[in-house]
């Protein structure tokens, strides 16, 4: 837990003097349930990301629906705090759906 009395755990902020918050946004009108692309067929961003920030999953609330339906699948950047900001996903996405900001 580190030495912070309030409980802020900075032990994982290895080597970064100031922790910047990375925001990764995926435009779902271009990719996923609303766009024409089935994330399960594409998976380029998943493969290109070294620290594995992205997660391919079925949408929350779609539990009762058919899991084989492409409409219930999407990709979310679940672990933005481990992002290395290499921009590989931004360059690799064929639909230009990903934006990374910090």
């Amino acid at each position: 837990m580190g030495w912070n009395i309030l409980g802020g755990d900075m032990s994982k902020a290895k080597g970064r003097s100031k922790m910047k918050k990375t925001k990764i946004k995926i435009d779902y009108t271009k990719c996923g349930d609303k766009g024409g692309i089935d994330p399960r067929e594409c998976t380029i961003c998943l493969k290109v990301c070294d620290p594995c920030v992205f997660l391919m999953h079925s949408v929350i609330g779609a539990e009762e629906e058919d899991p084989n339906d492409p409409q219930v699948w999407r990709i979310t950047a679940v672990w933005p705090s481990v992002c290395m900001r290499c921009m590989a996903c931004v360059e690799a996405c064929p639909e230009q759906a990903i934006t990374v900001k910090w």
Binding site: G7, M10, M19, C52, L55
Partner: protein, 290 residues
């Protein structure tokens, strides 16, 4: 011996206690079946679920916040280690694992695992990397459930395998560089041996990036014989955790014991027999650090 060995080990390591492999001795079978069925039906939904009102998206930042971070950490760990009667399957209550060396994985496979034994796709790797790789071995009640869900099982090969084949597969995966790990699902029922890879594995991700105890270090730790090490650097490429590093001035490999999970995968690469696993308890300074 970790805290789970004390609780569920009956004097041994928790995964060597044969009682933990029988579902009907731990909980009523229907309850166990219900939990596993619910969990595996929507396994792809599990990661982004909410932890006590917090979405797990961006967990890293939330956990670094003062006060809230500590509350969230306690909530998440309580959830992972939950031993309550009615656990929530879609939040993966009571699902965590530990690294084990290949020898013990084989021992479990040959003597302890309940029939039937099946091989299925690694869901973590599918969700995080988009690749389907057949490297999880499940047994007991869980395999009967997974068999019925077509997207988890390979089409072109036999799903049910015998103990010898399972041991061969484990060895194959381990030599490739995957870490053998044994899982509670839910605690104290043991029904899976996986061959995990960092950072794709869900448990390893929570442990290595957020320091949540969803995955424990093995009961062993690596010991490097400095005289035998020739500095061929082969083991460095095998370590998933970056615990081994080559230093040119000494022409040998150094070990970061803090990062070592004791999985023993590096031993397969060593040509000079310089790396061996010793029990963590016998290693001064690192006993009790799981």
């Amino acid at each position: 011996m970790c805290q789970w060995c004390m609780k569920h080990g009956a004097g041994k390591k928790w995964y060597l206690n044969s009682k933990n492999y029988f579902a009907d001795q731990i909980a009523p079978e229907n309850e166990m079946r219900e939990y596993l069925e619910e969990q595996w039906k929507n396994m792809e939904n599990l990661f982004i679920r909410k932890i006590k009102g917090f979405s797990s998206v961006g967990l890293g930042y939330k956990m670094k916040m003062p006060i809230i971070g500590r509350v969230l950490r306690a909530a998440a760990e309580g959830m992972i280690h939950s031993e309550k009667q009615h656990r929530n399957p879609v939040r993966a209550d009571g699902h965590f694992g530990q690294a084990i060396p290949l020898e013990e994985a084989k021992l479990i496979m040959s003597e302890l695992a309940a029939e039937p034994i099946i091989e299925n796709y690694c869901l973590c790797r599918y969700m995080q990397r988009g690749t389907k790789e057949c490297c999880c071995i499940n047994f007991g009640v869980l395999s009967e459930i997974i068999e019925k869900i077509p997207r988890y099982i390979p089409k072109d090969r036999v799903v049910r395998i015998d103990r010898e084949t399972a041991m061969e597969r484990l060895e194959e995966h381990n030599k490739k560089g995957y870490i053998a790990s044994v899982w509670f699902q839910p605690v104290p029922y043991i029904n899976a041996i996986c061959s995990c890879e960092s950072p794709e594995c869900g448990g390893l991700r929570l442990r290595t990036s957020f320091d949540l105890n969803a995955f424990y270090k093995a009961e062993y730790i690596i010991q490097l014989d400095q005289d035998k090490c020739q500095g061929c650097k082969q083991c460095v490429s095998m370590c998933q955790f970056g615990a081994l590093r080559y230093i040119p001035s000494q022409k040998r490999v150094i070990v970061d014991y803090d990062k070592c999970f004791g999985c023993g995968v590096c031993r397969h690469a060593c040509n000079n027999d310089a790396l061996k696993l010793i029990p963590r308890e016998e290693f001064p300074g690192w006993d009790g650090t799981y």
